[in-house]
């Protein structure tokens, strides 16, 4: 059995959406070439980066991801001609929105990684993991909870106020 620390340190959890044709294959290539990288990403395979619905990313953050990575083919190389452009357009809008929500831009990343760029998988994953590690846990589920509490208190105070006014 492997060695391990008894005190488990926090490490980020990153959900990745990789397109079948380029980035997923690149990650396979990294495997076949035994290119070691940080063990923090969990890849979900989609046929094209164009399939990545903004809701997937929001849902991942909401359920506790510390970062979300999207990987697609280089511009001009999408297996479906231009799905990656569509993805890029959505991504730019979405990043504005998540930033407004207090999610740091480094937590949401879009990368073009072609099927031959096994090493780029390593570079991108390691870089993202180190940046997100520095940022610390996002903890959106807990934040949601405290926001809910705040909301309740807020609503409560309004109610009280209303009651008061009516008297």
């Amino acid at each position: 059995m492997p060695n391990h620390n008894t005190e488990k340190q926090w490490t980020p959890k990153i959900v990745a959406f990789f397109c079948n044709w380029c980035t997923y294959t690149a990650a396979d290539l990294a495997g076949v070439s035994r290119i070691k990288h940080a063990p923090n990403i969990r890849v979900i395979r989609v046929m094209c980066s164009g399939r990545v619905d903004p809701q997937f990313l929001l849902d991942a953050f909401a359920k506790g991801a510390d970062g979300v990575l999207i990987g697609g083919c280089h511009p001009g190389d999408c297996h479906y001609i231009e799905g990656n452009y569509k993805c890029l357009r959505r991504f730019q809008l979405l990043q504005k929105m998540t930033t407004d929500m207090g999610i740091e831009p480094d937590r949401l990343r879009l990368e073009w990684i072609s099927a031959s760029e096994g090493d780029k998988v390593r570079v991108v994953v390691n870089d993202m993991v180190s940046k997100v590690t520095k940022l610390g846990p996002l903890g959106l589920p807990d934040k949601f909870k405290s926001w809910d509490e705040e909301m309740k208190i807020f609503e409560h105070s309004i109610e009280e106020k209303e009651v008061f006014e009516h008297v």
Binding site: M1, P2, V15, A27, P39, Y80, K86, S114
Partner: protein, 671 residues
């Protein structure tokens, strides 16, 4: 995730893959953990899940435990997804009630720490187990396969593929960009390791192509577009104007004789510029087809329109047509073999070897022509200054194994250098020095070949050449000094030679990226096309129905090229003879009830598969045109487009599965 009350009964399996997975992932732990997840009825680990007993296990478990879903954690789905889908099917379930977890390529092979790797495996397994519960039964659509085949490139690879297919009774379109087929091999005099004459083995195959009733040979033609998918591709071919009516020309060469240029004045491409040709010319005596062409760049008519057009009048068959325009043609084929070959590295990329500066420096391909009996000098090795070389230096690995040019070993240069050393010796009797980094002679009979030639009195110097410059001490003889470090005796040596041969490496064609985009296949950063799997699918691409043969996939010698060309032809035959192809059901459809008719999906589809039905005020997806990228699904504001195999619920449950790790941290008690 809730238990679905016994309706969903999942069998989970994790593969050790020998020790590939098991050495990094605690497989027993994973299977124990999986057993605790909702809906999991069976959970096992096994040495090799892809083996017969592994598959049998799945089949039996489905039957004995009434399983309704299967999850296997093993290698990449690119490798064995189909194997396990098939086992799921054999067990009596719809094959899409299966989900695969990539715990080898994406996990065991890329991480260093077993605990983190195991933890990742748990997350991925949970995701798959949540996901598979959402899976729907699907059917693979069968589409008929058009039996005609398109072969791109008429080098030895394309020739061999085309002949194999044609002999099996299939109709083949062989499209070659140059005016003749033959590729690089047609330029060689002899070939290693057998030293048999290249023309003797190639020309009969070239004429067989020309005369085969099942082969449509189009030379001086190019593919300019490819649409469709496996089984029914539409290829657009451009016929470049030769200014000769191909059907009428018999290759008598009267027009060449009659050309207003009495002397040949322009560089002859086939002879690497070592001889001259006229504006109207035959590429080389055995060119196939035997049809001349006119080069508008050099022909007076095209430059000034003031030519007396003696070629036109000389042709008894009226085959010369100076008004010819490019012609486009569309063909339907079911499969494509890409055999577009390589190009030698431009020797000027290594400026200190002086190619283009010093007349005594030649590329290997030029030397192939120089020693060729049908070459510019009929096989007599005369230098550009008219002299005969007495000392020759052959420089290996030019533009290979070097981070300034190309990193890879071009595989054939050591061997063709040895071949050229032998042939040059035979033709000139000169002293020959080979400068090499390492001698690389893999392959059957290759080391023996090298040993045999080495005994002919060649000198082999181990060391990369650092510089080549004129011998200032002997300006009369115009010799060149080859300077290298002999790494065996660790001394800098300077050898004066009359002729230098640069053994240039092999690299992708200049337009490899363009062609790749057109065909929707992948290539490495440098530009060689990528095979689907280096070991298990070496001639397939990631695009179904498109196959690779020869040096367009990577440098290789003629025996390997021909083997690969045969393999590609066999893969094509396997597809055609089945008569149909089953395609992944990952297409999208509209849930009409939800569709608000906003039309935002319509312009998104690059295949125009989505239309708007005015009467119903709903969008409609033509399944035959949909390729299943899912872009419209992600964009639909009302969530009313559904992509089979990648439904929203499936992906959401995968996300939930990945992130539902909080409760396992307690369970993961490594003591």
């Amino acid at each position: 995730m809730e238990k679905k009350n016994g309706q969903i009964r999942i069998g989970f399996y994790i593969c050790h893959c020998g020790s590939n997975i098991a050495s990094m992932v605690d497989v027993a732990k994973v299977s124990e953990y999986a057993a605790s997840l909702p809906n999991v009825v069976v959970s096992k680990d096994y040495k090799y899940m892809c083996s017969d007993p592994g598959q049998e296990m799945i089949i039996n478990d489905i039957k004995e435990n009434n399983l309704t879903r299967v999850v296997v954690a093993a290698c990449s789905p690119f490798l064995h997804e189909n194997t396990f889908r098939n086992a799921t099917f054999q067990g009596g379930l719809n094959q899409f009630y299966f989900q695969m977890v990539n715990t080898r390529e994406h996990n065991a092979w890329v991480h260093l720490e077993a605990m983190a790797t195991t933890e990742k495996a748990l997350d991925l397994v949970r995701a798959a187990i949540y996901r598979v519960a959402e899976h729907k039964p699907l059917e693979r659509k069968k589409v008929p396969i058009h039996p005609d085949v398109l072969v791109l490139g008429g080098g030895i690879a394309g020739i061999h593929s085309a002949l194999t297919l044609a002999n099996a009774g299939k109709k083949v379109y062989l499209v070659e960009r140059e005016p003749t087929i033959g590729g690089h091999m047609a330029m060689f005099d002899k070939t290693f390791p057998t030293l048999d004459c290249a023309a003797c083995i190639l020309t009969p195959k070239m004429s067989a192509v020309k005369n085969h009733p099942n082969i449509v040979l189009w030379t001086y033609a190019e593919i300019v577009g490819l649409d469709g998918f496996v089984g029914s591709y539409k290829a657009k071919i451009k016929h470049k104007p030769r200014y000769i009516i191909e059907e009428l020309c018999v290759g008598c060469n009267d027009c060449i004789e009659a050309c207003v240029y009495k002397e040949a004045r322009f560089l002859d491409e086939f002879n690497q510029g070592l001889s001259k040709r006229k504006p109207v010319y035959m590429p080389f005596p055995q060119a196939t087809p035997q049809i001349v062409l006119i080069d508008p760049e050099t022909c007076i008519h095209f430059k000034s329109a003031k030519c007396s057009q003696t070629c036109v009048t000389s042709c008894e068959r009226n085959a010369v047509d100076l008004q010819q325009q490019p012609r486009f043609e569309e063909i339907e084929v079911g499969t494509v073999i890409v055999a577009t070959g390589f190009k030698p590295v431009d020797a000027r990329k290594v400026p200190y070897y002086g190619y283009g500066n010093f007349p005594g420096v030649y590329t290997a391909l030029e030397v192939e022509r120089l020693i060729n009996a049908s070459g510019p000098t009929q096989g007599e090795v005369v230098l550009r200054d008219g002299s005969h070389p007495k000392t020759i230096g052959i420089v290996h690995c030019v533009g290979s194994r070097d981070k300034h040019t190309n990193q890879w070993c071009s595989r054939v240069c050591c061997l063709y250098s040895v071949k050229l050393a032998h042939l040059l010796k035979e033709h000139t009797g000169a002293d020959i020095y080979n400068f090499y980094i390492d001698m690389r002679t893999p392959g059957k009979m290759m080391e023996e070949f090298y040993n045999r030639i080495a005994e002919e009195g060649m000198k082999f110097i181990r060391g990369r050449v650092a510089d080549i410059y004129p011998d200032r001490d002997d300006p009369q003889r115009k010799r060149l000094i080859v300077k290298a470090e002999d790494t065996l005796i660790q001394e800098i040596i300077k050898i004066p030679v009359d002729m230098v041969v640069l053994s240039t490496g092999l690299e992708p064609r200049e337009d490899a990226q363009e062609v790749r985009r057109m065909l929707n296949i992948t290539c490495s950063t440098e530009g060689f096309y990528i095979e689907r799997h280096p070991k298990l699918a070496p001639v397939n691409t990631f695009t179904d129905g498109i196959f690779l043969a020869g040096c367009c996939q990577g440098p290789k010698d003629i025996p390997d090229t021909v083997a690969q060309a045969g393999a590609a032809a066999a893969e094509v035959l396997a597809l055609i003879d089945k008569g149909y192809i089953e395609i992944e059901p990952n297409t999208a459809y509209i849930n009409e009830e939800e569709c608000s008719g906003c039309k935002s999906c319509v312009p998104l589809c690059p295949y125009t598969a989505i239309s708007y039905i005015e009467e119903k005020k709903k969008a409609f997806i033509n399944e035959a045109l949909c390729k299943g990228c899912g872009t419209c699904v992600a964009a639909c504001p009302s969530g009313s487009i559904i992509q089979n195999l990648f439904e929203d619920e499936e992906i959401f449950s995968e996300i939930e599965g990945i992130l539902n790790f909080r409760n396992i941290q307690r369970e993961m008690s490594y003591a």
